[in-house]
Symmetry: C2
Subunit: 360 residues, 2 copies
């Protein structure tokens, strides 16, 4: 662990996310260097306190690539392949689709990342050091991910106040299609349908009450990122879209046929599910910590987090404690108390024998 | 005009809307009587200050029927047909679908109403005297509506802080299908799709960021009113749903075929339209008042407001000034300055010659 005064980070791309990252890291005492393709914006980033300096820093030990998705892989690869940099440099990105970039970069010290915050505003002007507080921040280790690199990145992200969610890249992409990509496209479609009608019915917009405004707020965001997102995650989006379209067709038919019971059932189910949606950053009342001695080798992390995912066990915190012997570490997993027993047994089946401790 | 101390209102049904109405009316000095099928709730309404007293008031000059939609017509008709009441009693309701109830009640002193506020909460506990401030409140006069009755109701509703929108009942139903009913059913469907996936992927709910929460908030509301709404407004909902489904299918195909330009175009259009959505209660910078001498007879109001609707002219305010001779009144319409000339010409074609005055 380096001392506080020595921590140095690189932020490439100083838009909303890169800018917020710079502010948040500097607030924690990091020295932050970086650049932007738009040199004017890079200079503005220094003026706004986002960067200590425009330019490279070969001594940085964490690099955040916050450039447009199409350029992330090339930038990340260039950083990782540069022999002049620290051999333990960990590189991450902030893009909304993970499997393609993780597959292309394919490096033990690249960990895909996706802070789920601030997508509706664009640009340095919206940069906010508190943007990540309480927000989900997905990290997507793979079987080749270096455990120590992952752990350093996770510590940094957690310190920014984010709620780290560990998922295989493909799972991330499938789930964000359901809770983000398809809803965004649906919101845009609802706005366009209303706008079409408003041409003939000026009163329509006056009837757009709070519910419609809430539903369509995301559609006001900058559309620029979406062609890339929809290209990179096309399969998952189409699959989720087709399921939603089928369910929408069923809902439409319930109205057309006067199926009052069917309507009531679907709406009751939705009301209950929406009320159960946990508040941002909410945790269950009872948590349990599993301490799992693991060999300090690639693949262990992905194996165990994927196993937890398969069992439906939500990982609320994750950490690694290294033992005196370099070859062995302790993986710490914090899960819902109700999931701990099943996960312990499944781990034992795979040769991992852990200790279990209830947290207060 | 009765003096302030004499104003007496009847509120039938003391749920969220009826309760809020009682509080708001009493805050303006009205004496409010009323009842609820649930006698416990009616008593609670008195305790909460919603009603002055549980019971009827034959001297009330305005009655708000805030009961479940299926009972509105019978309650309204009973009030209007009661020879013991004031002969100028005006009756209105607060339901979300207007054409069926207006057709069934079919009375010169019944004016359909729809305050577009607070649909997500249910019950007296959510009652709030400020619920209607700045909210759109649709009134749906017909060719048989009594002008004086309409005007008295409009004055009361405006005094509660609402933004009165005058529409034919069928237009109301068609427009709310687009901006309220279909979006609500879509929100419920998105929640159900996510809930289905969350059974297998506990992490999904942690990825449900602000956008998804905003989009689905309405789905948390009480489902009880929706079977009636969907039955009463089935045709308009199905028509709007089919258009939205067709546009959703097109959006899905843009993703499936990698049509980046098509996606960008649709999302740009939505972003621009959403940004142009006026803030709640917003008015254009320049307004013009039309003063239209009209015979004091049924049908004039519906004729002129429908004409404005046909021309796409948004009516921001409406009022009636009665002249000394009972047979003639002056209808005051406030519209966007850009719409005033066209409306004046169209009125002249129908024999209404108005004076036009720019408002500051």
């Amino acid at each position: 662990m380096t001392s506080r005064s020595e921590r140095r980070a690189l932020v490439v791309g100083t838009g909303l996310i890169g800018g917020s990252l710079g502010l948040a890291l500097r607030a924690q005492g990091w020295r932050v260097s970086g650049w932007d393709l738009d040199e004017t914006r890079a200079k503005a980033a220094v003026e706004r306190g986002v960067l200590d300096a425009v330019g490279d820093d070969l001594g940085a030990d964490v690099a955040f690539v916050a450039t447009p998705v199409s350029t992330v892989a090339a930038v990340a690869r260039r950083l990782l392949d540069d022999p002049g940099r620290r051999p333990d440099l960990v590189v991450t990105d902030v893009g909304g689709v993970k499997a393609p970039v993780v597959a292309v970069v394919d490096h033990p010290r690249f960990v895909g990342g996706h802070p789920m915050a601030g997508s509706e505003q664009l640009g340095l002007d919206g940069a906010d050091p508190g943007l990540f507080a309480g927000a989900a921040w997905v990290l997507t280790p793979t079987p080749t991910t270096d455990l120590a690199a992952f752990e350093r990145l996770r510590t940094v992200v957690t310190a920014l106040g984010a709620d780290v969610v560990v998922l295989p890249p493909e799972d991330h992409d499938r789930l964000v299609a359901v809770v983000s990509h398809v809803p965004h496209l649906v919101a845009a479609t609802l706005v366009n349908a209303a706008a079409d009608d408003a041409v003939h019915d000026a009163a329509l917009l006056r009837l757009a009450a709070g519910g419609f405004r809430d539903m369509t707020r995301v559609a006001a965001g900058h559309p620029g990122i979406w062609p890339d997102v929809c290209t990179d995650n096309a399969d998952a989006i189409v699959a989720a879209f087709d399921r939603v379209l089928a369910e929408l067709g069923a809902m439409r038919d319930r109205v057309a046929t006067g199926d009052r019971e069917g309507l009531l059932g679907a709406l009751r189910r939705a009301s209950a599910a929406r009320r159960q949606l946990p508040a941002r950053g909410a945790r269950p009342a009872r948590l349990t910590e599993l301490r799992i001695p693991v060999p300090d080798r690639q693949g262990v992390l992905a194996e165990i987090t994927s196993l937890a995912g398969t069992l439906g066990a939500n990982i609320y915190d994750i950490g690694i404690a290294h033992s005196a012997e370099a070859a062995q570490g302790i993986l710490l997993l914090v899960v819902d108390a109700g999931d701990a027993g099943g996960l312990r047994d499944a781990l034992a089946d795979r040769g991992y024998h852990c200790t279990v401790q209830e947290l207060s």
